[in-house]
């Protein structure tokens, strides 16, 4: 039994299951299947064809790829915006012809010809763009028409000038470089492709125009509704597509220096195949340069390979067609099932063995013994506030709390019957603290750390920290800032409970019980945010110790409270203060007599404690049964404990029936009263404490008399 446990422990320590879910949630995982197909195609044809990997073959292939991939990128752009461009082949032929004509017949130089050709082909794209974008014609029909017309124009021009062109022969160093040369042994056209691809990738994924393009492709109506100029963007995309075809035409002309009627014949089909094979969705909104490139390589290797294998003439298109239908099939299945798969594998529990909890039975004589001291709690703001996770009072006795609507609500003393919205932040306001200048600092779930100054202006303090080096997902953004406190020197320490779950499903993190949380410090002097402790198990409450040398933090799912030294000789070290708690600790706050209050938001159930030692059980549970049915920590009852710096629990306040406060996530002592907040409650509680200092307030305790 013990050795089996050790094995499980080791297995979960060293094999990071959660990475699978994180990889699946990345956008680039869409490329996985096209990439596999690419590898297969290369392996199959590489082994079938002799000299496939030889330098000369690679050089020829990459030179062709330079042209072809540009056309594929052109096609991909139009597909991403929700259209289709069938005129790429004709446009390509036009570019090829115009290049040769301008160089050979008109006697232009390369430096003027290339831009001119790109503009000419761009104007064909513009025509498409105006017709499709502004006049709202069907993309398929419109580009079919331009396909025919442009092809006809090229044919007519060829008829007229072909003979004259074949008589002359243009030659210059630049032209030779384009057609035959390259840089560092890389063919010229391939270099052009690399530049276009990099610029295109950055534009598409990191710039506003790119995002707009994706947005329009994803949902044209929504994009229009949020104020994007759909028509202009669509028109511009077709124009860019035309220009890329022109560029490809130029490179083709430089390579072969010949114009024929079959130039670019069927290119639109190949380009479309490549775009779809690469995983660009025909419906729009999903696509990337990388996908286009992968598709282009697959198609090119296959068509060339079939040609070189010497199969009869119909087999090339046949192989292409079969691959296309396979790609479409896999793409559809993948799209449909990816989220399902992600949902099933995202929850990835790990091994945790909690120590035996302290006894809570009424006759145990322990500090946790059940009592009914919270039974007669006074209720404030019943049904006026929803989800007051934290409560705080200022020196004038006003009571503040956050709500799930993103408001900070303020209740007026002395009876707290009237309330007003003090400020609106948005998100889910959680932990709160006063700084020295009486600004209210608030941790907002889903947003970050915010400040409300005395004129009620809301400003963002920070919403990101340094990204950890070995994390698959970008963990720099704050997902669930939970509670904060301020050190005497003004540094703000706050906890981020988990980086894997959002505000609405935070209890699911308990099923994982992995160290998904962290402790973060914001230094107002430098304006920098820095993660100071990682891999904490749902770090929740934060409180600066009475001596200002350390901060106390609660790790909810580990049922313990620890201390992190921020000053003094032990700075930077962590020390356990309290463990074996019978429940899950939440916020910690100072008490008037130099001790601390901690809220216990829920209680441990023995059946769950057993399950925590069995990650496989919890993983299967997450897959097999509906989330509503999952075994949860019991968050329907809580209590308040008071403990001191040595980690001794001095007293516990219970409400056994849990009638008024099913869940207690925070408490504040203020002038002889204890105020209670709870994240799933619709009320605030208040109870008179016997024998406490009736002039004590949190603000004065931290910052002295203002």
């Amino acid at each position: 039994m013990a050795s089996a446990n050790t094995l499980t422990k080791l297995r979960y320590r060293f094999i990071p299951d959660h990475v699978i879910g994180e990889i699946l949630s990345k956008k680039w995982i869409d490329n996985a299947i096209p990439f596999l197909v690419l590898i297969c195609v290369i392996v199959v044809f590489g082994s079938l064809i002799p000299n496939f990997f030889s330098g000369s073959n690679l050089s020829i292939t990459s030179r062709q790829l330079g042209e072809f991939a540009l056309v594929c990128i052109a096609m991909m752009l139009v597909i991403v915006v929700g259209g289709i461009d069938l005129s790429v082949g004709s446009n390509f032929a036009l570019g090829n012809f115009m290049t040769l004509a301008l160089l050979n017949l008109a006697g232009w130089s390369v430096w003027t010809t290339v831009p001119a050709v790109i503009l000419i082909c761009g104007s064909v794209g513009l025509l498409n763009g105006v017709l499709v974008g502004y006049l709202r014609l069907r993309a398929f029909l419109t580009t079919l028409v331009t396909l025919i017309i442009v092809r006809a124009v090229v044919d007519m021009l060829l008829l007229k000038y072909a003979q004259a062109m074949s008589m002359s022969f243009y030659q210059s160093d630049a032209w030779d470089l384009m057609g035959l040369g390259g840089f560092f042994g890389i063919p010229f056209s391939f270099c052009v492709l690399i530049v276009v691809a990099i610029v295109g990738h950055i534009l598409l994924t990191r710039s506003r125009p790119g995002w707009r393009l994706m947005a329009i492709g994803g949902s044209r109506r929504s994009a229009h509704n949020i104020g994007l100029s759909v028509r202009r963007t669509v028109c511009a995309t077709y124009t860019i597509s035309g220009m890329l075809c022109g560029l490809a035409g130029v490179l083709y002309a430089a390579r072969l220096s010949g114009a024929g009627t079959d130039t670019g014949m069927g290119l639109e089909i190949s380009a479309l195949t490549a775009a779809v094979l690469g995983g660009n969705s025909l419906g729009g909104g999903r696509g990337s340069i990388v996908k286009a490139l992968i598709g282009a390589v697959i198609v090119l290797v296959m068509t060339n390979g079939v040609l070189r294998l010497g199969l009869n003439s119909g087999s090339g298109p046949m192989v292409l067609g079969l691959t296309l239908i396979f790609a479409v099939f896999v793409d559809v299945r993948w799209l449909k099932n990816r989220d399902k798969l992600l949902n099933k594998v995202y929850v990835s529990p790990t091994y945790i063995e909690l120590p035996e909890p302290a006894s809570t039975s009424a006759d145990s004589g322990s500090a946790f013994a059940l009592n009914d001291r919270l039974k007669d709690v006074e209720i404030i703001g019943l049904a006026d506030v929803e989800s007051p996770e934290d409560v705080i009072l200022d020196d004038d006795d006003y009571l503040y709390c956050g709500t799930r609507h993103g408001d900070i609500v303020r209740f007026a003393p002395p009876d707290y019957k009237t309330h007003e919205v003090y400020a609106h932040i948005g998100g889910s306001p959680l932990g709160m603290s006063w700084d020295k200048d009486r600004n209210l600092l608030v941790c907002v779930g889903g947003m970050g750390l915010y400040k409300i100054d005395r004129s009620r202006t809301v400003t963002k303090v920070t919403d990101e920290t340094n990204r950890s080096k070995l994390s698959v997902v970008d963990d720099s953004r704050l997902r669930l800032a939970d509670d904060l406190d301020i050190a005497p020197d003004g540094r703000i320490y706050f906890s981020e409970a988990t980086i894997r779950y959002e505000m609405h499903d935070w209890p699911v993190d308990a099923l994982e019980s992995r160290g998904n949380g962290r402790l973060i410090c914001f230094d107002p002097k430098t304006g920098r945010t820095q993660t100071v402790l990682r891999n904490l198990i749902f770090p929740n409450g934060i409180c600066t110790a009475q001596d200002g040398q350390s901060i106390l933090f609660a790790e909810s799912w580990a049922c313990r409270i620890s201390r992190y030294y921020i000053d003094g000789p032990k700075a930077g070290t962590v020390e356990r203060v309290l463990d074996r708690l019978p429940g899950y600790p939440d916020n910690i706050n100072r008490a008037s007599d130099g001790t601390y209050w901690a809220a216990i938001m829920g209680m441990r159930s023995p059946a769950l404690d057993v399950a925590l030692r069995m990650p496989g059980f919890r993983k299967r549970m997450a897959r097999r049964i509906a989330p509503d049915q999952w075994l949860y920590p019991n968050l329907n009852i809580g209590c308040v404990i008071r403990f001191d710096d040595r980690g001794e629990v001095l007293e516990t306040l219970w409400d056994q029936g849990a009638e008024n406060h099913p869940m207690i996530t925070s408490m504040r002592e203020h002038k002889g009263y204890l105020y209670l907040g709870g994240i799933t409650n619709n009320r605030i509680g208040r109870i008179k404490l016997e024998g406490r200092d009736t002039s004590w307030s949190g603000y004065r305790n931290y910052w002295g008399r203002a």
């Binding site: 059946a607 069995m614 049964i625 799933t680």
Partner: protein, 364 residues
């Protein structure tokens, strides 16, 4: 080999045998709050089996039997059996059979021991239900030969099929096994033609046996809860009590041997992930996600380990209507229900209450 492979795939994907689907409560079983909202009933300590006798109602409560006039009014202790009563049955002639761990004893309608009847020499422990058949013999259901009745949760989690049905002739004391290896037979009804319908709790079904004990088939299957006792209704149909609900989590735990064994070894039975006769009384009970209170309210459709449900069936065992006490309610764990005096009387065993629902109000 192919079978083993398929089982393995099923286990991996959660299909077939490994699926944890639970039938929904719909149609005639659509949830309502009738049981929960019924007027305050009779307070009794762990009332269990309720029968109609010639003089009124009799219910068991611990080791005593209580008599209750069907039209209402004050009840009285009828007799003390000396040990916890697990089942009772009343014949048309007024004879009362009372089962305790010590055996089956017979009493007349006034509560004094009836002479001339005997349960023979068989060890008749763990009797869950009894019924007199028209020929005067007593059909007895034994829940499990492996576990005592108070350990019924262990019996379920261990997957025991150690129950049996007997026929006992009270005049001679001779007994014969009718059927064995049943999954906790927990209720008996005798049909007019003498066939026997038994509720098999762990199989979540009702089965029909002929008078000789031959299995004739299932009359109800895949019930949404674990069935308990069956009694006749005034419309020639039946009332079926369902003492606990099924849930996906419990079905899942039943398929997880390692966890199940560890839980049973380390955790006190009242905190097991298992069906229960009541829940929500201790924070150490397991809680499921949907049962998280929001704004101070536990949703009535929340997953729960206990539930109150009585179903009215036609003579052909088709559900007609049902009375519920939903998640968060107090009248859970209905172990028996009978119709008398225009009311449905039901025992909420761990709710410590005998509830009367006025049937006139419900129409039909």
């Amino acid at each position: 080999m192919a079978n083993a492979l398929r089982n393995w795939v099923d286990r991996f994907l959660g299909r077939g045998e490994a699926a944890v689907t639970v039938p929904p409560l719909d149609g005639a079983l659509k949830p309502n709050n009738i049981l929960e909202e019924a007027p305050v009933g009779i307070h009794a300590k762990t009332p269990d089996n309720l029968v109609v006798t010639t003089t009124g109602l009799v219910y068991s409560s611990g080791s005593t039997l209580h008599h209750q006039p069907a039209c209402g009014g004050a009840g009285a202790v009828l007799l003390d059996a000396g040990a916890a009563v697990t089942a009772i049955a009343a014949s048309e002639t007024g004879l009362l059979a009372v089962a305790t761990p010590r055996g089956i004893a017979f009493f007349d309608a006034s509560g004094s021991p009836a002479a001339g009847f005997s349960s023979g020499t068989q060890a008749c422990a763990n009797v869950t239900a009894m019924a007199f058949s028209p020929d005067g013999s007593l059909v007895v259901a034994v829940g499990s030969s492996k576990n005592a009745l108070e350990n019924w949760q262990r019996d379920l989690l261990d997957g025991e099929r150690a129950g049996s049905v007997w026929r006992l002739d009270p005049n001679t004391g001779q007994a014969a096994v009718l059927a064995s290896r049943l999954g906790f037979p927990n209720g008996i009804a005798i049909e007019p033609d003498g066939t026997i319908v038994v509720s098999e709790a762990w199989e979540k079904r009702l089965v029909r046996l002929d008078a000789g004990g031959k299995m004739l088939g299932q009359v109800m299957e895949d019930l949404p809860g674990y069935p308990a006792r069956i009694s006749g209704s005034a419309r020639q149909g039946y009332w079926l009590s369902v003492f606990a609900p099924r849930s996906q989590l419990i079905e899942f735990v039943l398929r997880e041997d390692v966890y199940r064994k560890a839980m049973m070894a380390e955790v006190a039975p009242e905190f097991w992930i298992a069906p229960a006769l009541r829940s929500g009384y201790s924070f150490r009970e397991p809680m499921q996600g949907g049962a998280l209170k929001q704004m101070g309210i536990l949703k009535p459709w929340a997953p729960t380990r206990s539930y109150g449900l009585v179903i009215e069936l036609t003579a052909d065992f088709v559900p007609l209507r049902s009375f519920h006490s939903r998640a968060g309610g107090r009248r859970h764990g209905i172990t028996s229900a009978v119709e008398a005096g225009g009311k449905l009387w039901a025992t909420s065993k761990r709710g410590d209450e005998v509830i009367a629902v006025n049937l006139g109000m419900q129409g039909n």
